[in-house]
């Protein structure tokens, strides 16, 4: 049933519909509304046989999930940004031990400077942790992906991270259809662990592995992710059959068939991109978009198939790999090896800077006209950057750029009033 509701509330309901047995989280913006929502539902008795554990850190949150999942319980947590980094060690461990934990990541920037707003620095920083990473374009998809995530995770014995843009989605009130509990029960079978800590069948989990077998173990983790390239679309198809709407999968093209220019992106920004593309199409520009739904595993074949007809590819991403540039772009290039087409990377929306339609239109026009630098920064205030660089060159104070720029802003503001 469609309802006008907050994304976080909807995700909370969807997670509860999946009947997790252990939920455990540590609060961090913008994830809080989700876990508060689950807490309310559990306390209200909406979910019998569920333990909601309030822990002292994200590291503990993931660790509790590891214990619970290893003991054969369906486990869930949610975090964002610094929280994800604080979990990092346990994150790798959960994947390495093959524990099908599901986690919501309310994407948020990573400091310093401390910043609570949205971008993809957090999830991108953990792209090699062994977790499956799915990205939601809309709150409806965020909801649907959680239902799929448990199925994918448990089918593969791999943890799944459902990434949704912090605030942009988590705090947005929209019309959402949250799957009914019964329908989810029919779609998602009870968790049957591949291995569990059980006195009736004791085993040792988490052995120390030396050079003689380590590489093989790592390759097997890779093979599992390759296997996920089949499982993810499978489950998406099962979901569509069960709930009557498409969502998830590996990637989705938008007006891409005859497109000479294709914009590749992930997450909620695709809405604005599509609006912009429609406008340009009306002006006769052959442009389209490719929405990446799964970043890990990375669907090399699908991406290649979708892009090989295009003349140019613009990867728009909300994270910056300092020292090189695009992260998604690098992966896309891998998919395109051997193909000769113009490739552009645009870093946009860092730390919550709005990605507006007009800005995108300008960016795309430049791309179509091949006026873009290989690496562009959308809506960058070059004046300030130049000023800071000049100061540094002049042997001015080095150190935290943030402070210096803020001081600069202050001065500017002061003058203007």
């Amino acid at each position: 049933m469609l309802r006008q509701m907050e994304g976080s509330a909807a995700v909370a309901e969807a997670v509860v519909a999946c009947r997790p047995e252990v939920v455990c989280a540590y609060p961090i913006s913008p994830q809080t509304h989700i876990v508060e929502g689950i807490s309310d539902l559990v306390r209200a008795g909406e979910l019998e046989r569920c333990e909601y554990v309030t822990v002292e850190s994200e590291f503990a949150a993931m660790s509790v999930c590891i214990g619970a999942s290893a003991a054969g319980a369906r486990a869930y947590t949610a975090t964002a940004s610094q929280g994800l980094l604080f979990m990092a060690e346990a994150l790798y461990n959960a994947a390495g031990l093959g524990l099908p934990i599901v986690m919501t990541l309310a994407n948020r920037a990573i400091g310093p400077p401390i910043n609570i707003w949205n971008d993809h620095s957090d999830s991108m920083s953990q792209r090699d942790s062994g977790w499956i990473q799915l990205y939601a374009e809309t709150n409806q998809e965020a909801v649907d992906l959680h239902v799929q995530a448990f199925k994918i995770a448990e089918r593969l014995s791999l943890p799944v991270m459902v990434c949704m843009d912090g605030f942009v989605l988590t705090h947005a009130f929209e019309q959402i259809d949250v799957p009914e509990r019964a329908a989810v029960d029919a779609f998602l079978p009870p968790f049957e662990p591949a291995q569990a800590l059980d006195p009736a069948d004791p085993m040792t989990i988490g052995a120390m592995v030396g050079p003689e077998a380590f590489a093989e173990v790592k390759y097997l983790a890779h093979a599992k992710q390759m296997q996920a390239l089949d499982t993810i679309p499978e489950v998406a198809a099962e979901f569509e059959a069960a709930f009557g709407r498409p969502s998830g999968g590996l990637a989705r093209g938008y007006r891409i068939e005859d497109a000479e220019t294709v914009v590749v992106a992930l997450g909620s920004v695709l809405g604005t991109i599509e609006d912009t593309i429609d406008a340009m199409r009306e002006d006769g520009v052959a442009i389209g978009a490719l929405a990446l739904k799964s970043f890990r595993p990375f669907p090399l074949e699908e991406v290649r198939a979708a892009l090989q007809g295009a003349k140019r590819v613009l990867v728009l991403e909300k994270a910056l790999a300092v020292g090189v540039g695009g992260i998604v772009a690098a992966n896309v290039r891998m998919a395109l090896s051997g193909l000769s087409l113009h490739g552009y990377t645009a870093i946009a929306g860092l730390g919550g800077r709005p990605i507006t339609g007009p800005s995108l239109r300008g960016l795309f026009d430049d791309a179509v006209a091949d006026r873009l630098e290989p690496l562009t920064f959308l809506d960058m205030d070059w004046e300030r950057v130049e000023a800071e660089l000049k100061r540094l060159a002049a042997g001015g104070r080095s150190g935290a750029h943030a402070e210096n720029i803020l001081r600069e802003v202050g001065v500017v503001a002061g003058r203007s009033h």
């Binding site: 469609l2 006008q4 913006s29 609570i116 912090g166 009130f173 920004v269 339609g357």
Partner: protein, 196 residues
Amino acid sequence: MSDRFEIRIHGRGGQGVVTAAELLSVAAFGEGRHAQAFPSFGSERTGAPVVSFCRIDSVPIRTHEPVATPDALIVQDPTLLHQVDLFAGFAADGYLLLNSGRDLGQLGLEDLCERHRPERLLAVPAGEIARRRLGKPLPNAALLGGFAALTGRLRLDSVQEAIHERFPGRAGEGNAAAAADCFELVAKRVGEGANA
């Protein structure tokens, strides 16, 4: 066919700025339309200037960017006038509903009236109305009722339904009543303006 209408709400932390936008979206949803509400995602604390947004359309809304060129402005707190750039991107034919017992002239907004369609710019004592109905000067609900009357984009009953849904019981009734009072007041003023 898109008939998108975008609202920006200004107020202070704690005055229910975000709630206001959400209620508008719920009311619109209740009328079978697509709507989207979201705050100017920040960590502002009580008293700090806060902004929220609402989009209403007859087709699905894909974008999630902030509202840059609002078709309507709701200002919960007139003291913001001299602190924030309330009218940034304000459409020439846009609507303004401002919570104040004084009129726009007294508030020094004559020039605004010149640049825009004056019959769409209105100051109402929403706080006073609320005080009568709730005992507290919480202008939120009243302003929403006023908004319905001023723009004709929503029906009063769907606004009231949204209010009841969010605030069950007496609080809901008080707010719904305040919304109705303000709706009437604004409808009356608009009528006068039309006659004038």
